[in-house]
Structure formats: structure tokens, C-alpha cells
Symmetry: C2
């Protein structure tokens, strides 16, 4: 068996096409969706993520503004920037790029973001609403995983999904979304992690395995049954002397082995990664649409 490659770039582009139509519809009403990005410090990975997100905004017709604060910024400086974005009517979504140089302020910062502009879906009230099945912003990476499955025609309802990794940004929200009633849900989910005994016993039983452990080669061929679907959420940089950069990007799974055994698999890069940014765009556009229906119109400077 040779797996179908689940092309996240391609699916991403389909969704962005749909999003452009929604942006056009908003423009007719005098509204441009706006994303406020907050970057603290000069971490190169964070810088490159922010640049990619801003580029995606521009390509989709979403207005974005970036506030770049020095690495030494104090809690109150960061909170003040977030509060100003909360008040800014041209901004429908707020993204604070993580990790912050001072991790101890992350909680305060994330909880200061207006839940109605929390397009990352990290505010506790959005997490709670998601778990309870109420309207909320879904976290971008888990939502991207659901879109890949759904748009590739892989049945989710009734499937047994085994998730490896219990992070607050991937494994845990994905488990909650997959077990909800209704579209993109109704799966039976097993959540595994570092304290799981005999991980292979669980992954071997799965129709779909989602690897989100943050460690290369977590999932090997002998741990997955033939014909299963594998979604690789990992983003790991490992040394590679053959590359100019001296390193390359790998996921959490033994791709070369699994591509021979699974029925479908996401590559890294080009799988889940592009979907995350796309779902961020979608949340921002949805926020602008909600704003409209709640009667609170906003007119960003560049829309006239």
C-alpha cells in the first residue's frame, strides 16, 4: 500500500479561495477584517511565523497591523498593547505570538485578549465554550486537522482516533472537538501522552492516529495498523549537514516507513502547518462577520 499524501498546502489554498469570497462580501459592506499581531522580542522562529501570518493576511485581503515590542518589555507594556487592540474597531482578531520571552506573563496576556477577538482560541472562556459545544473560536491547529480529514473525505464520525500528545494547543482541544456531537465530531477518541503505558497498543487500535508529541520518530511503522490514516502535527528542526541551513524540518512520525503502510498521511512540511495559518485567517474573517451581525460595524482605515 502506498499512502495518499494529504496535501495541506492544496487544501489550504481551497479554503483561502472560499475566504476571499467572504472578504469580498464584507468589502461591499464597507468592512475589511483586521488582525492585530503582537510580537515581543526577536526570536527568529517567532519572527518568521509572524511574517508568514502577515503575508497570508495580505494575500487574502485581511488588514493586519503588527506591534513589535522589545524583548525587555514588561507585563504592563504588553497588556497595554493588547488592551488598545481590544478597543480598536478596525481589529477583529488579536494574535499574540508565543512563546513570550517572559513565559510568566503569558497567562495574563492571553486572558486580557477580548474573547470576542481571541482568534487563537486560547482564552479560557473560548476553551470552555468549545468543550461545552457553544459557539467559540476553535484553536487553529486542531481545526486545521479536522479540515484536512474532512476535505480529504476521511470519515470522522464513528472513527477511533488516537491522539498522541496532550498539549493545550493541539492534543487536548483536538480531543474535545473530535468527541463533540455533530459535523467534524462524533469520533471515539483516546488521548495518549508521556505517561501512557504501552503506547503502541493504543495506536495499533486506531483508524486515525494524530501525532502531536513534539518529538521526532514518536510514531513508527510497527505502531500503526495497515491502512490507518496518520496526521503529523510535529514541527521539529533536526541537524542536516546536506542542507545549506544545516538543518531540516521533520514531524513526529517516521514518514518514510509510514507512507508504505498507511492509507493516507500528511507530510512535514506541507501538511498541517499551512492549515494553521489558514484557520487563523478564517477565525479573523468570521469575527468580522459576527461583528456585522451583532450590529457593531467597524471600518478599518483602508476600507472606504
Amino acid at each position: 500500500m502506498k499512502a495518499k499524501i494529504l496535501d495541506g498546502k492544496n487544501i489550504s489554498e481551497q479554503i483561502r479561495q472560499e475566504l476571499r469570497v467572504r472578504v469580498d462580501a464584507l468589502r461591499i459592506l464597507g468592512i475589511q477584517p483586521g488582525l492585530g499581531v503582537v510580537l515581543v522580542g526577536d526570536d527568529p522562529a517567532s519572527r518568521s511565523y509572524v511574517t508568514a501570518k502577515e503575508r497570508a493576511c495580505a494575500e487574502t485581503g485581511v488588514y493586519s497591523i503588527e506591534t513589535h515590542l522589545p524583548v525587555s518589555s514588561g507585563r504592563n507594556e504588553v497588556l497595554d498593547v493588547v488592551r488598545a487592540l481590544n478597543q480598536n474597531p478596525a481589529i477583529h482578531g488579536i494574535l499574540v505570538q508565543l512563546p513570550l520571552p517572559d513565559a510568566s506573563m503569558e497567562r495574563d496576556v492571553l486572558e486580557t485578549v477580548d474573547p470576542d477577538k481571541d482568534v487563537d482560541g486560547f482564552h479560557p472562556v473560548n476553551v470552555g465554550r468549545m468543550v461545552l459545544g457553544l459557539p467559540s473560536f476553535w484553536p487553529c491547529t486542531p481545526h486545521g486537522v479536522l479540515q484536512i480529514l474532512s476535505r480529504s473525505g476521511i470519515p470522522i464520525a464513528g472513527a477511533h482516533v488516537v491522539i498522541v500528545g496532550r498539549s493545550n494547543i493541539v492534543g487536548r482541544p483536538l480531543a474535545n472537538l473530535l468527541t463533540r456531537k455533530g459535523p467534524l465530531g462524533d469520533a471515539t477518541v483516546t488521548l495518549c501522552h508521556t505517561r501512557t503505558r504501552d503506547l503502541a497498543r493504543h495506536t495499533l487500535a486506531a483508524d486515525i492516529v494524530v501525532a502531536a508529541a513534539g518529538r521526532p520518530m514518536t510514531l513508527r511503522a510497527e505502531m500503526v495498523r495497515s491502512g490507518a490514516v496518520v496526521i503529523d502535527v510535529g514541527v521539529n528542526r533536526i541537524p542536516d549537514a546536506s542542507r545549506k541551513s544545516g538543518m531540516r524540518l521533520v514531524g513526529d512520525v517516521a514518514y518514510d516507513e509510514l507512507v508504505e503502510k498507511t492509507s493516507a498521511i500528511t507530510p512535514v512540511p506541507g501538511g498541517v502547518g499551512p492549515m494553521t495559518i489558514t484557520m487563523l485567517l478564517q477565525n479573523t474573517i468570521e469575527s468580522a462577520e459576527r461583528h456585522l451581525t451583532s450590529g457593531k460595524l467597524s471600518r478599518p482605515p483602508c476600507a472606504s
Copy 2:
């Protein structure tokens, strides 16, 4: 094998002993924990739950006041009562007995309860904080299940727990709590529900099965491996001509079969049921203690 009966009444009484010590310590500081109970309408089951909760308060030294509203009460009347309790400094916990006669107002009512007094743990912000591993009030029934396991010496960390039922008040929060890092957590959890295919395949793999499906005889002997632990969260009233009341209480599991096969099992009644009220008391007392440490002292009328 004959199962150890996990006696929820007994464990409950142990915990209430500990709680009385905490209430005494608060009393020395001039504080009595206070619970505000809101009952709408005259449903006999709701009435009897409220009475049981108030009796448990009295026995543990917790002050309670009940507001009983007529079945015809409108949304604003119920919300006004909740808002008054939010403002009342003698009240540390608020309990709105569910279901409300008008189910459409439940969401509004639960979201109006001050999260700092939400001792049922139903407010989205408390659900979100629980999922994210932040301090919050844990929902009472799932917390009761964890206490039964832990106080009976049944290892949770590393165990494979299969939960049958994905309700917002039991299955879903329990899955989130069991997979958290740290005490009472670190379990590998499979969440099953009505859309699960081949339920028995999942339950047979479990070290611990939690039945919270709301349907009698959901779990039969052939669905559980010999020596497993079974926790029965079900509370179903079925006809029984041999009883004066014409009915009796049964759980979600085939108790008579499973008691011969499992290593430990909770009975119904007398298992999880008593624990739920005890965890409500614990949350109310904890709320009063938090109030103290945050410097906001409260003096209920009966403390002098």
C-alpha cells in the same frame, strides 16, 4: 473473583470529617461558608436533591439559603436572583438546581453566576480553566469519581480509563481531568458515546470503566475484562412492583454480573451519588478559604 465494593457513603463521610475541620478553622476567623441555592418550579426530583444538599450543608457547618421561584418565572427574575447572590458577601457558592423548567434560559443563567462562586464548575471560564490546568472549581460528579478511585487506592496515573458517555457534566469534564498532568491525573483516556462503534472492544481494553451513559444495563459482564474496576455514575429510576414507591434506583451497569468479575465496583445507590454533594460542600468551603486569602472577608449573619 468478588469485587471490592467502593462505598461512596463511607468515603464521603471521611471527606466530610475533613471538611468540618476546615469549617471550624474558618469559624475561628469569623467566617462561615455560605451556599446560595436557587430552585425554580416544583419538580419532585429537583426538590429532593435541593433538600439533600441543604441537609448536607447543615451537617457540615455550611450556611445555606434557598430561593424558591415559581415554575412560571421569567429569565430576568431568575437572573436577578443570581445577581443578588453574586453580590451577597455571605455567599461563597451558588447552586442553580438543573434542569430549569425553561431549558432555554439555562445557558444565560449559568453564565451569569460569578465564576468565583461557581461551585458547580459549569461556567465556561471554569470549564476552560479546568481543561487548561489552571485553578478552577472542578465539577462535582467527576471530582467525586476521582476521589473514590484515589481514596480506594486504585492507581489513576498510567491507567487506561474508558468513559462511556460524553455529557458536559460527567463524561467530558472527567476525561479532561483524568488526562491532566499531576495528582488524580496522568491517565490514558478513551471517551466513548452513542456514536462509538463496537463499544465492547473499547471497554474490554480498560483498566477502569466509568459508565455515565444515562441508560441502565449499558455495561454488561462480557464487556469488561476480569479484574477491571467499574465506576457507575448512572442514576436511573425503573419500575419495581415489589417496592412501596413502585420504583427503584439503578445505575448504568449490570451490577449483579459485574460484581462477580471486577476487582472493585461502585454500587447504586451509595456509590458516586453521595460524593457529588460532598464535592459541592468542598468547593463551597474552598471558595470561602480563597475569599479569605484574597483579603475579601465575608461575615454571614449567623457568624458573630
